[in-house]
């Protein structure tokens, strides 16, 4: 399991998290002014690709979990990849949660922890 990302730009160029020499590019090196797509790989296997529309800003984080009561427990994590866009006064987000086993969940804004699905009640 070796997650890494690739930024794909509107001018046809791209930026890999690791270049051919194994040197690392940081999140801050991503040129957001021409970012068209963002992909997550496990080694060289594509797991997820996000396509950005004009006005959508990339969201990318690794969310980690530690249980202080049981330090021997394997640390959990997932990657959050999505976009944020403000339309008028409304802040809209769409976030995909890429888990270590490769499955992906999608949700909007949520407070934290695991994504919580919205429950709709009958009127």
């Amino acid at each position: 399991m070796n997650f890494n990302w690739k930024s794909i730009y509107s001018d046809g160029s791209s930026l890999n998290q690791y270049n051919d020499k194994g040197e690392k590019n940081g999140y801050e090196n991503i040129d957001r002014t021409k970012l068209k797509a963002f992909a997550i790989f496990d080694d060289d296997k594509l797991l997820f690709k996000l396509h950005l529309e004009p006005g959508q800003r990339l969201i990318y984080r690794r969310r980690n979990f530690i249980n202080p009561m049981n330090p021997n427990e394997e640390a959990n994590f997932f990657y959050m990849v999505g976009w944020q866009q403000k339309i008028g006064s409304t802040n809209t987000q769409s976030i995909n949660y890429v888990y270590p086993d490769g499955h992906i969940e999608q949700a909007g804004i949520w407070a934290g922890g695991e994504p919580t699905p919205t429950v709709y009640e009958k009127e």
């Binding site: 940081g26 690794r62 980690n64 249980n67 202080p68 009561m69 330090p71 021997n72 934290g112």
Partner: protein
């Protein structure tokens, strides 16, 4: 490089100058035992007795995250939550809603947990005994869908981006009321979460 953190808690010493900083990795599960003694030993000595009336308190635990391997860019957005199940009737795990200062250069937010307490009987209630904590809530009110925002970070720029940097203190204390039942309680699951880029 993916960041690596350890969970530490500070004990003994004097206010603003803890005597011992313990990595819970060295203790094994359960790594935190709430008792009326300001030590790190996981044993049944100095429990919090069920009072005939009123409430007895454990000595508080001053806990923080410490960076062992630095992230590529930064770590922030630390949150804390529980599984929401609780220890049972009459027993509350309180969490301080202020996060006294702890960083790689300062432990000014530390206050000795045993001050005013009596081993084997009770500690002092957190908001009464710790000058930097004014409000508490039940930790079990905070779950994965509604976590507590904190502990905060008082390193430069309010982020962690180097080995040895830490979060501020998150402080926990068990309160035992007369309605509690005696005995060793089932281990609870607590969780720190943080975001990394």
């Amino acid at each position: 490089m993916v960041a690596v953190f350890s969970v530490y808690f500070d004990t003994v010493g004097t206010d603003a100058s803890p005597g011992t900083s313990t990595d819970v990795d060295a203790l094994g599960a359960p790594a935190l035992r709430f008792k009326t003694n300001d030590n790190t030993t996981i044993d049944a000595i100095d429990p919090v007795p069920v009072p005939a009336s009123g409430t007895n308190y454990s000595y508080w635990k001053q806990i923080y995250l410490k960076c062992d391997t630095a992230p590529d860019t930064q770590v922030d957005n630390i949150k804390f939550y529980t599984d929401g199940t609780g220890f049972g009737t009459g027993i509350t795990l309180n969490v301080g809603l202020q996060f006294p200062t702890k960083n790689s250069a300062s432990t000014v937010g530390y206050e000795v947990a045993s001050t005013g307490g009596t081993s084997g009987t009770t500690g002092v209630e957190l908001t009464s005994g710790h000058a930097l904590v004014s409000t508490v809530a039940s930790a079990f009110d905070y779950t994965s869908g509604s976590p507590l925002t904190g502990p905060t970070i008082s390193e430069d720029s309010s982020i962690i981006n180097a080995i040895g940097e830490t979060s501020n203190y998150l402080i926990l204390q068990v309160a035992v009321a007369s309605t509690a039942t005696p005995g060793n309680k089932t281990d609870e699951t607590l969780t720190f979460q943080y975001d990394e880029i």
